[in-house]
């Protein structure tokens, strides 16, 4: 088996320097449209808050709804500013972040509440060499009993409501919920309909939201860092205002 040890050493270190230094490699993030007003020509913009005509539609992208259709991307004849970057996670309330006791050891339970697989694929990547959340003190746990942070992806279809609630209830307090991906924030193209929900917040309280369809691994890492208070929350343009919730 020594060949595997040798192979691993020969490969060298691949892990990103984030959060100490920004990651600048090409292709780590698809970017997001900025809150600018532009026009699109191809079809209806599904995330625009300003419904216009089919042909030249004015748009104000709501990045909580952005599903990366790229219809407003400069390469598809739209004109909004397109931001790179990946620090998209936003806390929903002032006390959303866990205290200092959790800053360097956090256990994480992931729940797939009807995600399309792309979100899950990105969640898998955060544990793999390029992102390696273990170095930041985050550990995946298979049981909610040991979990501090619940990472939920997907719009929460009817059949997942009870499993999600049970998982949340099984977690000891203090606990925080990260809703990752456009489905988990707004239901994306599916919800709300007769079976798919319109996001995690309808079922359990959400503390940190991260947009993207799917959110790239660095955005997920940022979301975890926001949840434990090691990174400041992003201020999301046109973020829906939410009332204060009592926290368990």
């Amino acid at each position: 088996m020594s060949k595997w040890v040798w192979k691993g050493m020969k490969t060298g270190k691949k892990t990103t320097g984030y959060p100490d230094v920004p990651e600048t490699a090409a292709g780590v993030s698809p970017g997001l449209p900025e809150g600018a007003t532009g026009t699109i020509s191809a079809g209806r913009c599904p995330c625009s808050t300003d419904a216009g005509s089919q042909e030249t539609q004015r748009m104000k992208p709501d990045i909580r709804r952005c599903l990366h259709c790229f219809r407003c991307h400069p390469s598809r004849s739209g004109q909004p500013d397109w931001q790179g970057g990946y620090e998209w996670a936003a806390a929903t309330a002032a006390d959303a972040q866990l205290g200092a006791a959790f800053s360097h050891s956090v256990h994480l339970r992931v729940v797939d509440a009807g995600a399309c697989d792309a979100c899950i694929s990105e969640v898998k990547q955060i544990g793999k060499p390029y992102y390696n959340i273990h170095r930041l003190g985050f550990f995946l746990t298979p049981t909610p009993r040991h979990a501090d942070v619940l990472l939920v992806v997907g719009p929460v279809p009817e059949n997942m409501v009870l499993p999600l609630k049970k998982t949340f209830d099984a977690m000891p307090a203090p606990k925080r919920v990260v809703a990752a991906g456009t489905c988990a924030l707004t239901g994306c193209v599916f919800g709300p309909n007769f079976t798919a929900g319109s996001g995690v917040a309808d079922v359990i309280p959400v503390d940190v939201e991260v947009p993207g369809c799917p959110p790239p691994p660095l955005a997920l890492v940022h979301a975890l860092l926001v949840a434990v208070g090691r990174k400041p929350s992003a201020s999301m343009a046109e973020k829906a205002t939410k009332g204060e919730r009592s926290r368990p």
């Binding site: 399309c116 792309a118 390029y130 279809p157 193209v189 007769f194 079976t195």
Partner: protein, 536 residues
Amino acid sequence: METERHDDASAPRRDVPAAISQWAPRAVTQIRGGVPWTIIEGRRDELKDLCRRLTRELGYSFATLVVEEIRFEWHINYIFWGDEKSGFVQVALRASGAQPRIPSISVPVHAADWHERETEDLFGLVFEGHPRLGDFVLHGHRPEGATPMRSGSIDEGTVSQEKISPWRPDRIVRAPGAFLMSIGPVYSDYAESARFLLETVGEDVIRVIPRLFYKYRGLEKAAQGRDPSDVLLMAERFSGTSAIAHSLAFCQAVETICKAKVPPRARALRVFLAELERCRHHVGAITEICGSTALAVATSQAAILEEELLRLCCQHTGHRYLFGLNALGGLTIDLPDETCRHLVGGVQDILRRLLELGEMLRFSSSFLDRLEEVGAVSKKDALAYGLVGPVARASGISRDLRVDLPYADYGPDRVTFRVPFEEEGDGYARLRIFITEAVQSAQMMQRVAQTLPRGEVRCPAFSAEPGAALGWSEAPRGATFHWVRIDKDGRLARYRVTTPSFTNWHGFHLAAEDFAFQDFPIIMATFGLSNAECDR
């Protein structure tokens, strides 16, 4: 009992549509979407026999069961797929009334089993003679008799959680110490939600009862009444890891209905992107297989390659999972020749390292011990269940839509390849198929990049016309069929999606039964299926 035709796929076929007309004189054959399409008006009393003969005597595979409600009448279409000569066969049955009774075809054609269960659960149509109807897609919290797919019957009210009664499967293992082990729906580190009930008397799994559709998001219902360009976003997003394949099948169905001519460059680039997606998916599947056997270094090595492919996709197309590229009538952006060359170079470099990894795995006995002769599916079973994709090819079925019913730029005189197949049908055979197909995908990408036609990548804008058509493509996990009907307002009246994960989960229990508990996650990883794709 299977016929010789099934066992010897290389035997020359008769002109099958002509053979059908011998014993089904009402059959009509047309050319649709470039392949022969035979419609047989089915009658209740001869339906079972007809479907049995199509699969057992003429070598057709069951593709999909499409139920439509048109003008107070049920149109029930059983669609079968063959090859370039025999094309598709559509057995069309009509029924009327609120509670029509339709003979079940799942005894002669076992591949239709889950299709009938789904239809019964969502439409409330009863299939006479089916042994296991009832709770399937909609779980216990909806009363039996709820039929959300019927028009106008959507229950928009919130569902009361108090009504949930535990679902109890029929247990068949009766032995001292027998028990039922439940896994899921929330289990493992980041597994997709699904539940498996394993009947056992100790170490070995005797029976596997999958409980799926936890992720049922009502894709087919949500698409109804929507504009095709909106539904395209859904087709791309219901299974994010095979976005190109599913959006391609949807686009091709709409393009067939509207008689849109896709420019040659777009057809070639669609092949290019589909192969890029297949390559990335297969590397991801190999990562999962290494992970399931707890071979840490190999898992990391494969994950590095997967991430590099994702970055490569994002760098050159804008999105890591290739969203937002397929459009009705072509592609949204052109990939310049130089970009294609960069992509080919990047993929080939990654493939070279994948093959190195494959060689190391081939000589790691601890890894092979977990895969060889584990989770075997026989060719006979694979045919009976109509399995598709790498799983079927690992069990000796050399079938692939890209060769059998070519679409886009696939075909003998354009992009073609030899369909790989293995005989053993075990986990290691499936791993070898994943590696071989990833290499073939890179070769096809190179060939397309070298011979890219010039010109537009999108046909002029067209308006949606009423009509119905089937779109198909070979997704990374196997054959997918999208039936689209557009109404007179240019909106979707029916969208029926049959995915390779749905087809293959049906046969998953064949592989997992009679193996030890610790083999279960490995067998699951070698199948490489997605619940998002299955549940829709």
